[in-house]
């Protein structure tokens, strides 16, 4: 995979613009997911994800070919998403967040049932619930949780993406996890 990506990047750097579409194809779902989970709506997610690829293209000269491309790309995407959140909500604090109540009944039902229902409708509502809860987290915990549990990345990769020491990433994941757990228990 990495070898294929490297080859494509060399082609793009030589001036083959069309080759870039292959990179977009490989990473579009992952980048879109990060953007969507961070921002919570499809329109902004598409905007930010597309912008991330455009920035990657125009700044490709600064990308170090010996490092992992996905890490570099995720870094662009998460930075753009965090910028977008800051512009939307200049004073974002966990304390400001008031829990939505509409999903709570559903949620306590899930919480008490050991086995999760397989039904598609239920699955969809579950998705919504997860997204709602993630949106309740402050952006710095949100990004750590998304990269860890939705993109399945290692702590080292997350620390490179967020430009933070591994220890800080760990703390953010712990706090994010704890916040989600409390909401799960209190609801």
């Amino acid at each position: 995979m990495d070898a294929v990506v490297k080859k494509i990047i060399i082609e793009v750097k030589k001036g083959d613009q069309q080759a870039f579409s292959e990179l977009v194809e490989i990473y579009k779902d992952k980048v879109y997911q990060v953007a969507y989970r961070m921002l919570g709506n499809a329109h902004e997610a598409q905007d930010v994800a597309q912008e991330a690829f455009l920035r990657a293209y125009t700044n490709l000269e600064t990308y170090d070919i010996n490092r992992k491309f996905s890490t570099w790309l995720f870094r662009i995407a998460t930075n753009l998403a965090i910028d977008r959140i800051r512009k939307k909500k200049p004073d974002f604090h966990l304390e400001d967040q008031v829990a939505g109540t509409e999903d709570l009944n559903y949620y306590s039902q899930i919480a008490t049932d050991e086995a999760l229902p397989e039904d598609q409708v239920v699955k969809f509502e579950m998705q919504e619930w997860v997204q709602n809860e993630i949106m309740m987290l402050p952006p710095k915990y949100r990004s750590a949780i998304i990269l860890k549990y939705m993109e399945d990345l290692s702590l080292k990769e997350i620390s490179e993406i967020l430009n933070l020491p591994v220890a800080t990433v760990k703390t953010r994941i712990h706090r994010g996890r704890e916040a989600l757990r409390k909401r799960l228990r209190d609801s």
Partner: protein
């Protein structure tokens, strides 16, 4: 509750599998006796499972096309370089095809066939050149159709001209751009139907079946 605060950090470490064997044993021992802490761990595990269960998302269908549309324009030389690098075989195929058309055309024009003329009026058939000539001053009152030959008009045609397997020759091209004035007058449409293409298709098909036989 006090216990929860004290053990919270350890429980997270445990969850991340970042404990020494000794730390692990100690915590596991505590979990056996403390309902609060074992509950805490269970809830954390469930939280993680729920977050992970959120299935992976897909970008919208037109995502890649949208990105590609917004990229800064490539320079022309880059486009050509890129194209030739990506499609070297296509260039070879194009050159080959050109040669192929020319050779098939020569097969076609080499074949002798009888000239057939349909029309009303005076015309001359130059068998040697394979041309039907409407001499100056002559008028074809309706349509004229020429098959397997060219047509040269010095006179007039009141209807349309259809040339099958041949072409319309302008009798005097030396006058320059305005050559229609130097030829006769044509009132209707001029149709040139070239069956070379029909032939071509036939030859392409037989050519490729030959090629396949060679490779087999």
């Amino acid at each position: 509750m006090a216990c929860e605060n004290e053990y919270s950090h350890l429980i997270h470490k445990y969850l991340d599998e970042e404990m020494t064997l000794l730390e692990k044993k100690k915590l596991e021992n505590h979990l056996l006796h403390c309902a609060d802490c074992s509950g805490h761990l269970r809830e954390l595990r469930k939280t993680v499972a729920i977050v992970q269960s959120a299935s992976h998302m897909e970008a919208p269908k037109d995502f890649t096309a949208n990105v590609m549309k917004q990229l800064p324009k490539e320079t022309r030389t880059n486009q050509w370089k890129t194209w030739t690098r990506r499609h070297p075989y296509l260039i070879t195929a194009a050159v080959f095809f050109l040669v192929f058309i020319m050779s098939v055309s020569s097969i076609w024009t080499g074949g002798q066939k009888e000239i057939i003329v349909q029309g009303d009026g005076h015309f001359v058939v130059d068998e040697e050149r394979g041309v039907v000539i409407i001499p100056e001053g002559e008028v074809i009152s309706g349509d004229i159709t020429v098959r397997n030959g060219d047509i040269e008009i010095a006179g007039e045609v009141n209807g349309s001209i259809t040339v099958i397997n041949g072409e319309l020759i302008y009798s005097d091209l030396t006058n320059g751009e305005n050559y229609l004035a130097s030829t006769g007058h044509v009132a209707g449409e001029i149709n040139e139907i070239n069956q070379v293409f029909g032939w071509l298709w036939f030859h392409i098909k037989s050519f490729f079946s030959d090629v396949i036989n060679v490779f087999n």
